[in-house]
């Protein structure tokens, strides 16, 4: 269902040349034409392992909605931009989507850096914005809906479970940028809250591939467990070198990031077995909606189907949450849709119920803990309807809707949260 502006104009001008009567109809159609849904996600460059499945499921959601008759009797026109893992393209495409295409809604951004680069653009051009990636929490913006899980939802459950199972001395390793830094602070906080000790916290630039010195340090520190918030392709090396030194047998790993780029397929079963991760979605979640979702996705993608993770499932669900809000509002117009979204809009999708929480514009959602076995996850705990308590600590859009900030820009202390 590719029907973009250029083709529309070609068709419209051809019609204009043909007969004046058809011309009038084409003009009328442009006022109640398709609803514009723009997606800006990396499909090339280093972030494509995250972006590609997100685009695949977004397309699937829009195709399904269109096949079921569209929204308000109008077709949804999906346009996908590929910013190629480059922030500069994000700002360029965001401006194009908001000012040029006059999109009704934009779903965009993977890293927090990309989100912070484009969020102001959408506020300025009054374009509704969805960010569907799990992230460190703290965005407080009436125009922005963050549907992914945040540390209070995942880390808060993962830390007590794994500490109870493995012990109280925790060694934290994380990627060296704002997601890793802030997530490491949340881990430190929850470890302390649960009576444990964070023996060491180490940060890694995204291109480190030799983790030897750190593995020796972990052996010297003798923690009960390692908590990882490593990110990206280079960091996959850590899990392999850790296993090569025989460490995965003695000191287990828990992670808030492993698996969301389908890392569990990039290392072998014997290297990964026993790791515990927390997300608001796993492909292995056991409910009818998810089974049907996974089946439809596989039928659609054939042999090339990537493994499904929270990012992919949430991109799909977020498209439906927006669609439900448009139906409830009776118009795709921004203010009405924001109003509808904040009046308890939600969707019963593959991950269970995801509902917008109006104080933060984040989502109440299920959180699952799962253990890795033979390159797939076994769900071991389910926590239903978890609120984004971290962002709730610092953000109240009901009391003051006129906000558009990122509260954790300089870490948790900046937001007055004690470690």
């Amino acid at each position: 269902m590719q029907f973009n502006r250029r083709r529309f104009l070609t068709a419209a001008s051809a019609a204009a040349l043909a007969t004046p009567a058809i011309n009038r109809r084409a003009m009328a159609a442009s006022h109640s034409g398709p609803i514009k849904f723009v997606s800006i996600l990396d499909q090339s460059g280093g972030l494509d392992i995250y972006g590609k499945p997100m685009v695949d499921t977004t397309k699937m959601a829009i195709d399904e909605i269109n096949a079921a008759g569209g929204l308000l009797g109008r077709e949804i026109d999906l346009q996908v931009f590929d910013p190629q893992s480059t922030i500069q393209f994000y700002t360029q495409f965001a401006t194009q989507a908001a000012a040029g295409e006059k999109a009704d809604v934009v779903h965009a951004g993977i890293t927090s850096a990309s989100r912070e680069a484009i969020r102001p653009t959408f506020s300025r051009f009054k374009t509704l914005y969805f960010y569907n990636t799990l992230y460190e929490g703290g965005v407080c913006d009436l125009n922005t809906f963050c549907t992914g899980s945040t540390p209070a939802q995942t880390v808060e459950k993962l830390v007590p479970h794994t500490m109870g199972k493995w012990g109280k001395k925790v060694y934290i390793i994380a990627a060296d940028y704002n997601y890793g830094q802030i997530t490491a602070q949340w881990v430190q906080k929850y470890v302390k809250d649960n009576g444990g000790e964070a023996v060491e916290t180490e940060f890694f630039p995204l291109d480190v591939t030799n983790f030897g010195p750190t593995i020796k340090k972990i052996q010297a520190a003798k923690p009960d467990m390692v908590m990882s918030a490593l990110v990206g392709g280079a960091h996959v090396s850590f899990y392999r070198q850790y296993a090569a030194a025989g460490m995965n047998k003695s000191i287990p790993i828990a992670s808030t990031t492993f698996g969301v780029g389908n890392e569990h397929k990039l290392i072998s079963a014997e290297e990964g077995d026993g790791m515990i991760c927390a997300y608001s979605y796993f492909e292995e979640v056991d409910n009818a909606a998810n089974k049907a979702f996974v089946q439809r996705f596989k039928d659609r993608m054939g042999d090339d189907a990537p493994a499904l993770n929270e990012l992919a499932a949430r991109s799909y669900e977020a498209a439906y949450i927006w669609a439900e809000a448009v139906k409830a509002a009776g118009t795709p117009e921004r203010e009405a849709v924001i109003e509808a979204l904040r009046s308890g809009a939600g969707y019963d999708g593959p991950s269970g119920r995801v509902a917008i929480e109006p104080k933060t514009n984040h989502a109440n959602q299920n959180v699952y803990l799962a253990e890795l076995k033979d390159q797939s996850f076994n769900i071991i705990e389910t926590h239903e309807n978890q609120p984004p308590t971290d962002t709730l600590l610092v953000c109240d859009l009901v009391a003051d809707p006129n906000q558009s900030t990122f509260k954790f820009e300089n870490g948790l202390e900046a937001a007055g949260i004690e470690l």
Binding site: I49, P213, K265, I267, S268
Partner: protein
């Protein structure tokens, strides 16, 4: 004591790792003066050869030690014939051409195999225990392979007729041609050998790193820094630069953390090049290979 011993072992491995990822580039850039920005992708192709071959039932050792260098070596010969041979002596042009080649490789591999490929391999050879500390047996094996590879390249260049012709051609190709050497063939073979060494390195690293289409970008900067710091004598240069940079990186990373470890490596490279603009072998070991 156990810690010191296993840490020394770890640092030697870091040095070997640096030498391994740089050696192919040392041949292609250090010797042939082709700025090969697709070097990272040569390593990536070696890794992919291993992952795809083992997924299709090929023995891991065969895939790593035979298939990876073979596939990437043949790929290197094709690239040299189609692209590089028109550009000898035009360094800036090779930079652009190989950058394009790098993007092409990433694009091709992504469109054939997708953004990520499931792997089933894990590092062979088990664990070596030193007191309370454990190291990977495979990492020890890699140290051995790197030393063997350095010796093999040295022997090829120093002791064989091909090596003599290659060195002569790179030094003065007009004179070599006047003496009846087919310089075009020598260029092709040397480039192919450089690519094969890169492929072997990529294949050997596959079991202990993530293999993704974009992983080449992780290696390229370090390989160039090592080769440029090393200077004109490719083997002595690459070896001494690896020892200095890898050693400092390993020690600082253990003492302070990986971020400062990376900073220390880059800082040392800057200081080296400020003091010795022609690389380490521009001042020391001038007569070596």
């Amino acid at each position: 004591m156990d810690l010191v011993l296993s840490l020394i072992l770890q640092i030697i491995y870091g040095i070997a790792n640096l030498a391994l990822i740089s050696l192919g580039l040392a041949i292609i850039f250090g010797m042939m003066r082709v700025i090969n920005l697709a070097h990272g992708e040569f390593l990536m192709l070696g890794g992919y050869t291993v992952v795809v071959a083992t997924n299709n039932g090929v023995n891991l050792w065969v895939a790593m030690l035979i298939l990876a260098p073979l596939v990437v070596g043949v790929f290197g010969v094709i690239v040299e014939r189609l692209l590089i041979r028109w550009l000898y002596g035009r360094m800036v042009d090779t930079l652009l051409a190989t950058w394009g080649l790098s993007l092409l490789c990433i694009g091709l591999v992504t469109s054939i195999f997708g953004a990520s490929t499931t792997t089933t391999i894990s590092p062979p050879l088990g664990v070596v225990t030193i007191g309370e500390y454990t190291s990977s047996g495979y990492e020890l094996f890699l140290i051995g392979v790197t030393v063997a590879l350095l010796i093999a390249v040295y022997a090829t260049l120093k002791l064989t007729k091909l090596g003599l012709l290659a060195r002569g051609t790179m030094q003065n190709s007009d004179m070599a041609a006047a003496l009846g050497v087919s310089t075009s063939r020598i260029y092709m073979i040397t480039f192919g050998l450089g690519a094969a060494v890169s492929g072997l390195a990529g294949g050997l690293l596959a079991p202990i790193t993530g293999v993704l289409p974009t992983i080449g970008s992780v290696y390229i900067a370090k390989a160039f820094i090592t080769v440029i710091s090393g200077g004109m004598a490719i083997l002595a240069g690459t070896t001494t630069a690896s020892i200095l940079l890898g050693g400092v990186n390993g020690i600082v990373a253990f003492l302070t953390g990986p971020t400062i470890g990376e900073v220390a490596l880059l800082l040392l490279a800057i200081i080296l090049l400020r003091l010795m603009p022609r690389g380490i072998t521009g001042r020391f070991f001038k007569k070596s290979l």
